[in-house]
Amino acid sequence: MKAVTCILALALLWVAGLRPAGAQAPLIADLDDHLIAITTGFAGADVLLFGTTDGPGDVIVVVKGPTADVEVLRKERVGGIWINRKGLGYQNVPAVYMLAASKPLDELLPEDQRAYYQMGIENIRMVPVDPRDSDSKTFAGALVHAKQKTGLFSDLPARILFIGDRLFRVNLRVPSTVPTGTYLAEVYLVRDQKVVGAQTTPLVISKIGFGADIYDFAHRHGAAYGVIAILVALFAGWMAHLAFRRR
């Protein structure tokens, strides 16, 4: 079913791309689904990004999650015990970073351009709160490493496939541990070591269902949630007493 819609969508886009009206935009791209729902049994999801270009070229896709301030703590040995001692803060750290390209990145763009567009994990611009600290680089490295280990920063770019030289598609794998929020998929068209076109598409990841309602309620009405939790426990304890009293 999904495959059929995808082919249809690709065909439509391709037709649209041929039209003179669409020819003004060098790049058109879209996602097959702009909303990923985290439900009770969420085990990750696949998102299809597809699009068309106005002629031969290469495509790079960067997906970034919502940014946040992050603190990196380092354990040190104090009196025989390992304790979190030094902490360095970083601002503007994306929750998730995914990359896809039709060719290896270093073949497509020079280093300064990759740094400018934040392409590749080493080019993510995390802003250290205290840039003069001598450990700033080491801690940032540890942060990236931790993100890679949990699969939130993917270090291997996904391969974008071209169908002919205008239609492209790529499957983006969203891991089960993704935080909720609004994500942005940036799509770049590259020709002769230069970015010649770009488009941004939003992707919303949110919790849906009973679990999400509980989470929402707990965070919005903490006191009421606490009272309910106590009442539920009192009732459960009483029921247990009744159930086992007579035997």
């Binding site: 979190n84 089960s176 009973f210 989470y215 006191a223 309910i228 459960a236 009483w238 247990a240």
Partner: protein, 324 residues
């Protein structure tokens, strides 16, 4: 025929293993039967040994992937349920000293409030996991040693049929003001003593997510010299209120109480406690108590090892404004 049976067996096994439930506050999906089993296992132990078992359940929950802060706060919620079912049985037998319980409760409320504040502070400092681990190492090794010594002594006592030594009151304690008469406990002591015990146990229980019966019961027997009949009922009585208070504050300030997890653990726990209570009547108590002491000491040793061994990853990531 045989092939079909195997297919069926694997299908049923798959169904069991696949029955994951997403815990909304812990934000992890875990197997329902694993959680029920954990609750039941700890319930059996608590029925056997008469301790709450929270001090074993919290580390186990952390081990299966529940964030420590959520494990601790949820455990407080679950303790409310198990203490209610426990206290009702004691109430029917008239084994609850409400006056003594209320004085301890006053101290407990104060202590647990301090505990929750400490918890929040340590969480923002990024030291909460360390403090929880250290608190567990200290209390687990304390209880383990106490239980081991007691059971060895009891085993010897059985052989020599010696009467237990009576503990005399501390002299300095008799000089304290605010003396009160506790009829059911057969005591005339300063209210500061039970209040102070409640206060200290309150701090510990908020930090560790335990009811604290394992600390309260020995303190009530050895420090206060209470009549033993009313000790368990009275401690359960005050634990209900202190833990309800802790649950409320954890929910209000840290948003770390997972109702769903607490409910699953409670169901497993009450069933387990009944099984444990019945088993306990049939099995040789002192030998079991000694084995339990060994289990607790091994757990403490494992936690201590994690504290002193070179960690696999020196760095910890804390996301501001969210996460646990």
């Amino acid at each position: 025929m045989k092939g079909k049976a195997v297919t069926w067996a694997t299908a049923i096994l798959d169904w069991f293993l696949g029955l994951q439930i997403y815990l909304p506050i812990a934000e992890v999906a875990l197997n329902v039967f694993l959680l029920l089993g954990l609750g039941a296992g700890v319930g059996v132990l608590s029925g056997l040994f008469g301790v709450g078992g929270g001090f074993l359940l919290t580390p186990l929950l952390i081990f299966v992937g529940v964030p420590p802060a959520v494990a601790v706060a949820t455990q407080s919620n679950q303790v409310v349920a198990s203490s209610v079912s426990g206290v009702l049985a004691h109430w029917a037998r008239g084994n609850v000293d409400v006056k003594m319980g209320s004085v301890m409760l006053a101290g407990g409320m104060l202590g647990s409030s301090v505990g929750v504040l400490l918890f929040t502070l340590l969480k923002t400092l990024g030291q909460i996991d360390l403090v929880i681990a250290i608190a567990y190492v200290i209390t687990l090794s304390g209880i383990g040693i106490m239980m081991a010594v007691e059971s060895i002594r009891a085993l010897r006592r059985v052989r020599k049929s010696m009467a237990p030594k009576k503990l005399h009151q501390h002299n300095w304690a008799q000089g304290l003001p605010f003396k009160m008469r506790f009829r059911k406990s057969r005591l005339y002591i300063s209210a500061l003593l039970p209040g102070g015990i409640g206060f200290i146990v309150g701090i510990m229980s908020a930090l560790m997510g335990v009811g604290g019966a394992f600390l309260l019961v020995p303190a009530m027997i050895y420090l206060l010299g209470m009549a033993t009949g009313a000790v368990i009922g009275t401690s359960l009585f005050q634990i209900i209120f202190v833990q309800a208070w802790v649950t409320f504050w954890q929910a209000n300030t840290n948003q770390t109480v997972d109702i769903l997890l607490a409910l699953i653990l409670t169901i497993g726990g009450v069933v387990g406690a009944q099984i444990g209570g019945r088993l306990g009547a049939k099995l040789p108590g002192e030998q079991l108590r000694f084995l339990m002491a060994i289990v607790i000491l091994v757990t403490a040793g494992g936690l201590l090892y994690q504290l002193v061994a070179h960690p696999a990853d020196l760095y910890t990531i804390v996301i501001a404004g969210g996460g646990h």
